[in-house]
């Protein structure tokens, strides 16, 4: 969405380009992190998000974190960050893959646990069972548990039903698809027959994606130019840096803003690490004993 000119202006650190760049980074990073975003999010929220995302991915230029929260300056820093992200996150590839038009029936075979955003909260809130002096009846817990089990079973049944229908569609349409390997229509494609408005939309999506892919291929051709250009940006900065280095030295030393004492992220991770360490240590001791024992026995036998 930003004009090509924005990049050029950013190179020369023009302040007008800063806001656009913040917004761009926000949009991109939000997508990467699976979130929804709107243009209406306040700029300082956007900036905070971008900063924390960059920190999360290990971006280490202190200048960026010191940029003002009203988005008034720093387009060059943002340009640098953007390029770094291009490389480090395989930004383009990631976004293309993520936004891929779904014409087929898809499922993921990933068995990773879904990360619940608030799963690590300390105090769980137990809905109080009718006023037993703020104690909770364990039977309420049992009831909830039963309800949960029941819902899982219903879900299972529904999934199986969906699976059956899916299979039917595949079966009935096999032999029709132009893609030989697939051989059959997906649910989406079959549904097009009933809903012609969706057909137009899907067609448009496909075509625009193809254009994006072709643009990507072009980009790959021109990539060396981009990185060389970025180097000139660094060169410019280096030159300017030499001029005003003396002013900034005392600021440079501070580096990234220090971690505050209570960082929830670090805390939860430390908790995880502790638990893992404990488990591994137990295992370690267990193994140690076992191995020593076995070794002794072995030596006995071999003697």
């Amino acid at each position: 969405r930003p004009a090509p000119d924005t990049l050029r202006r950013a190179r020369f650190d023009r302040p007008q380009a800063s806001l656009d760049f913040w917004r761009l980074l926000y949009a991109l990073l939000k997508q990467i992190h699976g979130g929804k975003w709107t243009d209406s999010d306040a700029i300082d929220n956007q900036i905070r998000f971008v900063k924390s995302a960059l920190w999360y991915h290990g971006y280490g230029r202190p200048e960026l974190y010191r940029l003002p929260s009203d988005g008034s300056a720093g387009s060059r820093e943002l340009l640098l960050a953007f390029s770094w992200l291009l490389h480090n996150l395989s930004l383009l590839e990631q976004l293309l893959a993520q936004n891929r038009v779904k014409t087929g029936d898809e499922t993921s075979v990933c068995t990773c646990e879904d990360d619940l955003p608030n799963s690590q909260k300390g105090t769980t809130e137990i809905a109080p069972e009718c006023g037993l002096e703020d104690r909770v009846d364990v039977r309420y817990l049992q009831w909830l548990n039963g309800k949960l089990k029941f819902q899982w079973r219903s879900l299972h049944a529904q999934h199986q039903e969906q699976c059956k229908l899916l299979h039917k569609i595949h079966l009935f349409t096999s032999g029709s698809h132009m893609d030989q390997i697939l051989g059959h229509f997906s649910v989406t494609e079959t549904d097009l027959i009933r809903q012609p408005e969706n057909y137009k939309k899907l067609l448009q999506l496909l075509e625009s994606e193809t254009m994006q892919l072709e643009a990507f291929l072009e980009w790959k051709q021109l990539e060396p130019v981009y990185w060389q250009w970025m180097e000139t940006v660094l060169d410019n900065m280096a030159e300017e840096g030499n001029i005003c280095e003396s002013q900034d030295t005392h600021v440079e030393k501070s580096g990234l803003p220090k971690a505050t004492l209570c960082c929830p992220w670090a805390d939860s991770l430390t908790g995880q690490i502790d638990r893992l360490s404990r488990d591994l240590m137990t295992l370690h001791d267990q193994l140690h004993e076992l191995v020593t024992h076995r070794k002794a026995a072995w030596c006995e036998k071999v003697r």
């Binding site: 979130g35 646990e113 817990l141 193809t210 660094l234 430390t270 191995v291 072995w298």
Partner: protein
């Protein structure tokens, strides 16, 4: 005498024909949704979607009238129509034929031009059927105007067919097919596309340079990397335990015993390595980390597998059972994840209750029973408690 079903179908057909006449007489415009309604009512079983009826487009008397240019028509020649109709095991076939003959008369007025062409019917059925001659290539769907004309034509229709019967003959419109193949090819090219050596070198140079400007002792692991590593390590203790358990206590031969010993030592090394890694992660976690704002960590996206990001592998299943199993197993995995999380929380919350002994003594037994059932039997089985007392 015709059966009630036939009567019904005849009724439908006549209604459709009437409407067709009406529309044709008026200026050809707009989607003919009304038409569609007429054809959708056949009694069909099950969840199979009723779709695309046989559409007889503007059929000229013989031969396929396939007009190129802006308005494409799907045309089935009458001959073919009859043949197709004959293939349908319908008693109303005869009825159809006569209706068609009538309809043919109307199609003369059909003009080639006109943006709001009525006959933008999508030809769904391929000429695959041997009895129907060559239909095929006229299946172009022109979508520049009347969307609703999909499968709705001005012609009478026979009973809607089920997907089951005709699904294998379906053909998506040509624009879609073209777009699809172009899209697939583009994806292929992108997957195969590699970074040129020049680009890689220039990029590497830039990245190295910019990283020298990062604040000086950068931790070895970025927060993202820490999380990723931890994720990998989560399952390790359980997995390694399994391997340890799998080693038998006794061995038939000395050779086997020795191998077992080596395996165990190997496992031991692995555990040590993991522990070491954990220490490194811990250090980076609590060390001199950067800004931790309250909006601290963005929720994780799907950063599952970086390698081969662009390629989406095709998952084929060879039987219905497989598909079912796949769904069922995925669900089960999610469920187990949730159970584990719940179990952890419950342990943390419930066990202290038992230990604290704050509950009235009278209900102790029930409490134990409930908590035991919840924590140890997954809430499914309740132990029977027997009061062991001597009745005086």
């Amino acid at each position: 005498t015709p059966s009630p079903k036939e009567l019904e179908e005849l009724e439908l057909l006549s209604r459709a024909l009437e409407k067709a006449l009406k529309v044709r007489k008026s200026i050809l415009k707009g989607p003919l949704e009304a038409q569609g309604a007429a054809g959708e009512k056949s009694a069909d079983e099950g969840p199979a979607p009723k779709n695309g009826s046989r559409t007889a487009g503007k059929s000229s008397s013989k031969g396929v009238a396939c007009k190129q240019g802006r308005s494409h028509r799907a045309a089935i020649s009458a001959r073919d129509r009859e043949a197709c109709a004959a293939a349908e095991p319908q008693k109303t076939a005869g009825l159809l034929r006569s209706v068609l003959d009538e309809q043919q008369g109307f199609s003369k007025g059909d003009s080639a031009g006109g943006k709001n062409s009525v006959a933008t019917c999508k030809q769904l059925f391929d000429a695959g059927k041997k009895s129907c001659g060559s239909l095929g290539e006229c299946s172009k769907m022109e979508d520049h105007t009347t969307e609703g004309a999909l499968g709705r034509s001005t012609s009478p229709r026979c009973r809607s067919v089920t997907l089951q019967e005709k699904g294998y003959q379906l053909k998506l419109p040509l624009p879609y097919r073209k777009a699809y193949s172009r899209n697939s090819r583009a994806w292929e090219r992108c997957c195969l596309c590699q970074t040129s050596a020049d680009a890689a070198a220039a990029r590497k140079h830039f990245i190295e340079r910019i990283q020298t400007t990062f604040c000086s002792p950068m931790p070895a692991f970025s927060p993202a990397e820490i999380e990723k590593e931890l994720k990998v390590l989560q399952d390790v203790p359980a997995l390694l335990s399994q391997y340890v358990e799998a080693e038998p206590a006794d061995h038939p031969t000395l050779q086997r015993e020795y191998e077992s010993l080596l395996t165990l030592e190997g496992l031991q090394t692995m555990v040590s390595q993991c522990l070491h890694k954990l220490q490194l992660l811990q250090a980076d976690c609590t060390g001199d980390r950067g800004s931790c704002s309250p909006v601290c960590v963005p929720p994780r996206g799907q950063m599952c597998d970086r390698a081969g990001v662009l390629a989406v592998p095709l998952l084929c299943y060879s039987s219905f059972q497989e598909l079912r199993d796949l769904f069922a197993l995925k669900l089960q995995v999610s469920m187990l994840h949730q159970e584990i999380a719940l179990q952890k929380v419950m342990m943390a919350e419930l066990l202290p209750v038992l230990e604290s002994r704050l509950y009235p003594e009278a209900s102790a037994a029930q409490l134990y029973r409930a908590i035991y059932a919840q924590l140890c039997e997954g809430g499914k089985r309740f132990p029977v408690l027997v009061r062991d007392e001597l009745a005086d």
